[in-house]
Amino acid sequence: MTSTVKVQITVNGQPTSADVEPRLLLAHYVRDVVGIKATNIGCDTTSCGACTVLLDGESVKSCTVLAVQADQQEVTTMEGLSPSPDELHPVAAAFRQEHGLQCGFCTPGMVMATVSLLAENPHPTEREVRENLEGNLCRCTGYHNIVRAVLAAAEAQGGDS
């Protein structure tokens, strides 16, 4: 048995803290320690992006980050994005509007990857959207409506070019 390490991670604006095994993955910290389940674990081999969350505002695959690596940092998951179900974050709203999901398994990861992309590049071209979603796999949609949703979200957010 290895020693535990105390971590303090702000999750969706709320301070959280726990003594964790160093090998605990951030995905499991969020799902099992904090207990919020929007973040999905798909491939568990850093390929599918279903587990994407924001770490200090940047997209990361939480199945490939240790909770101890996120100590003293801020994590944002899909739960932390929209103020309420009636008041969706522009990216979540665009996914709904453009039917950017079918089974929905990839969606939390896609949405978080999109939020990060638009923070870095508020006005991406279709090509840029496709290349920047390369780390997020979707079996259902063929990406067609996802790409449309991202472009619509960029439009809706306006952003400073």
Binding site: T45, S47, R130, R139, G142, Y143
Partner: protein, 222 residues
């Protein structure tokens, strides 16, 4: 279709019961907004009230008698790098005729997903084993699953030809994308290198397979 038929039969049953209750002629009744009402008046009874008095239930079977035929056409434009064998899909245009569509949003989504999977089957996806039978494509790091970066946006053309075999004229859309896109893309790849003498490439047309086919054809031509 069975649901459509059952709903019609249930509405008839509700009208008969309501006719007795409201002392009206069945012909004067209409079913709307969860109520059976006498046309042109405020008089009526809710379906819930009717069902509370006596269960409203029908059982029905729908048999179309024969299979309906959704049909369509898929056209793919691909670019093949003859040096590496890599193929890229530039455009894909599809017509899928499913008959009258109740929910266009869902039907389009079904087509999108199918097209992507069809392209992937033609170019990327394959379960590979080594000579000892060990799976080499056990994770998404090894299995050729396309991301958004490997696919274009799709052009869908709508066409609605009803089938006479059922009252809604609806056919089906389930596998239209996967059925059409695969041969369209695969044939486009072969066509793109046919000037070099290539006549066939096994699926998926991976760079190795395309490159090997080009080598074989051009060696043969020498």
């Amino acid at each position: 279709m069975a649901v459509y038929k059952a709903a019609g039969e249930l509405a008839e049953l509700a009208k008969q019961r309501a006719a007795d209750l409201l002392e009206a002629s069945v012909d004067d009744l209409e079913v709307a907004d969860g109520r059976v009402g006498v046309r042109g008046t405020d008089t009526g009874v809710s379906l819930a009230d009717l069902a509370a008095r006596e269960q409203l239930k029908v059982e029905t079977v729908f048999d179309s008698g024969a299979a309906s035929f959704p049909f369509g056409a898929h056209v793919a434009v691909v670019e093949v790098d003859v040096e590496s064998g890599k193929a890229v899909v530039d455009r894909i245009v599809t017509v899928d005729d499913a008959g009258p569509v109740l929910n266009p949003l869902l039907a389009e989504g079904q087509r999108h997903g199918g097209i992507a999977q069809g392209i992937a089957q033609a170019l990327f996806e394959e379960v590979v084993y080594d000579e000892d039978g060990n799976p080499l494509t056990a994770t998404f790091a090894d299995y050729g699953f396309p991301s958004a970066a490997e696919l274009p946006s799709f052009t869908l053309v709508d066409m609605e030809t009803p089938t006479p075999l059922n009252p809604l004229g609806a056919k089906g859309i389930g596998e239209a994308g996967t059925i059409g896109a695969t041969p369209a893309v695969q044939s486009a790849v072969v066509d793109a290198v046919s000037h070099l003498g290539v006549r066939h490439i096994d699926m998926p047309a991976t760079p190795l397979r395309v490159w090997t086919a080009i080598q074989a054809a051009t060696e043969g031509a020498k």
